[in-house]
């Protein structure tokens, strides 16, 4: 996802038709879409804005970044690879530059439900941002290596090209998932990967 000034047309959604919707209801909607949408909840769990995107991205106004204590969720549709995946680097950048308390990516691939990044009381956003930048070249190389190894292995087993690509994409993006999991806590953030249905309790 991206802010208005960073490319992409902002397409607001009329939120009156989602009056009273819970986070769970919104995310159930997101999982069934082929395009991305982004919903902003205030500190009291009320929807205050929503935006429509395309299959690979959704834009929102720069002002949304400054909504303090917001919970922001957006969809990562399955697409051709049948896999939504975790936060992109743009998603991480937005969270670390924002005043949000929680950022969620909602996906519907096999074994996918939610990727969640929660800001703790003593979160160090700049530290996390700088760490991501420092680790970026190695991380990108590792994603590439994991992809290549998985693809080669699957092809050697006789797996079809399409399926080999799907498995390789899952494993490669899994590298990023593992990295976020181990690194977020060093900077006062909690990273959660929900793979199965769960009770939202909110």
């Amino acid at each position: 996802m991206n802010g208005e000034n960073k490319g992409g047309k902002v397409r607001p959604i009329d939120i009156s038709k989602f009056d009273g919707y819970t986070l769970e209801q919104v995310e159930n909607r997101l999982r069934n879409l082929k395009h991305e949408e982004l919903f902003v909840f205030d500190e009291n769990g009320k929807i205050i804005a929503a935006y429509k995107g395309n299959a690979t991205s959704v834009s929102f106004p720069e002002s949304i970044i400054n909504v303090k204590g917001a919970t922001v969720t957006h969809g990562h549709p399955k697409g051709a690879k049948e896999f939504g995946g975790t936060f992109s680097f743009a998603d991480m950048k937005n969270m670390l530059e924002s005043q949000w308390k929680e950022h969620r990516a909602t996906a519907a691939g096999q074994g996918e439900m939610n990727y969640i990044l929660r800001k703790g009381k003593n979160a160090n956003a700049k530290g996390f941002y700088d760490r991501l930048n420092k680790d970026y070249p190695a991380l990108q190389a590792n994603i590439s290596k994991r992809y290549s190894e998985a693809y080669t292995r699957e092809k050697a087993k006789g797996t079809s090209t399409k399926q080999a690509e799907h498995i390789a994409r899952q494993e490669a993006v899994g590298t990023l998932n593992a990295y976020y999991k181990t690194t977020a806590s060093d900077y006062g953030y909690e990273y959660v990967n929900r793979k199965k249905k769960y009770k939202y309790n909110r």
Binding site: N2, T56, G79, F89, A90, M92, T161, A172
Partner: protein
């Protein structure tokens, strides 16, 4: 100003699309590495699409 400044790689990722493009390039590289005629043909097609802005 320090002599060794970290390049702001994250700033280059303005949208999810930037990530998809990165993954598409990784896929193309993997196909080329396999080097069979079938894989090279797929890589070439993907490269052509990537240049046209299609990367999913």
């Amino acid at each position: 100003m320090s002599k060794e400044q970290t390049t702001d790689f994250l700033a280059k990722h303005e949208t999810d699309d930037d990530f998809f493009r990165m993954m598409a390039q990784i896929e193309i590289d993997a196909l080329k590495e396999m080097g069979t005629p079938e894989e090279l043909a797929i890589a070439e097609e993907k490269e052509r699409k990537l240049k046209s802005g299609i990367y999913t």
